[in-house]
Amino acid sequence: LIYLTRRYEFSASHRLFNPNFSDEKNWEIFKQCNNPNGHGHNYELEVTVKGEPDEQTGMLIDIMKLDEIVHRVIIQEVDHKHLNLDVSMFEGIIPTAENIVVIFWQRLLPEVPKHSPLHRLRLFESRNNVAELVGH
């Protein structure tokens, strides 16, 4: 069992707020992330797949294929976008790092080849904040 991780980057803006909360409550909970004009991050996404490498090639997965999947399903959808306003996968969802990683998991799971299933996603919002989701 080998775990292989590929790292990707994208830049996006977002705003954390719940439309059901008052302005005061939104500010109290989300603080400066609630700024109505939004703010942005250089996100880093680590995609980990697991499985047994092919005996002949020594490779677990064709990395170019993984790149193609992640770019098509995620990066091109979110890079240089406003997650609240531009990105349909986040409609009705507060784009916290936790929610983003869950949505990305749902998008990637059916696309990744069956012999090397998704194991873990790590989303770095900054050097200090990371959300991690591990499958079972």
Binding site: L1, I2, Y3, T5, R7, Y8, T57, G58
Partner: protein, 152 residues
């Protein structure tokens, strides 16, 4: 001095770096097929990486030294098992393990595991996992067939 937690087991991780050349190609395939499967990595002239290795070992804290392992011993072990055979070598041409195996990141991790495992056992420690980074965008983790959940 008495250890406050005499049976506490702790995982210690040591990093090491090496630089090697390699290429991906199977002799039984023609150049077109090798290129279709391995892309630019199939160039038989080879290319190289600065690899970063992390080795995690687990064991009880020695009550006399306060250490799971003397890092000088761990460093010497990694030097002998990994750095000396691989650093500044062409993996395809100079490392026997890769005579009949493509030196992918996955296979290099297995080589390192097999080289380290008996040495770690000889020190009465458990080799927990290793991580091998090829560059900033690609790494593998290996726990000798165990799942990462079992060893973390």
């Amino acid at each position: 001095m008495a250890n406050p937690h005499p049976v506490q087991r702790v995982t210690v991780t040591r990093k090491a770096r090496f630089s090697s050349a390699h290429f991906y190609a199977l002799d039984e395939w023609d150049e077109a097929k090798n290129k279709a499967v391995f892309y630019g990595c199939s160039n038989r002239m080879g290319h190289g990486h600065n690899y970063l290795l992390e080795v995690a070992v687990n064991g009880p804290i020695d009550p006399e030294t306060g250490m799971v392992v003397n890092l000088k011993d761990l460093k010497a072990m990694i030097q002998e098992a990994v750095i000396e055979p691989l650093d500044h070598q062409n993996l395809n041409h100079q490392v026997a393990y890769f005579k009949n195996r493509v030196p992918t990141l996955e296979n290099i991790a297995r080589y390192i595991w097999e080289a380290l495992s008996p040495r770690v056992t000889a020190l009465h420690l458990d080799l927990q996992w290793i991580r091998l980074d090829e560059n900033d965008t690609l790494f593998v983790e290996y726990a000798g067939g165990k799942s990462l959940e079992q060893v973390s």
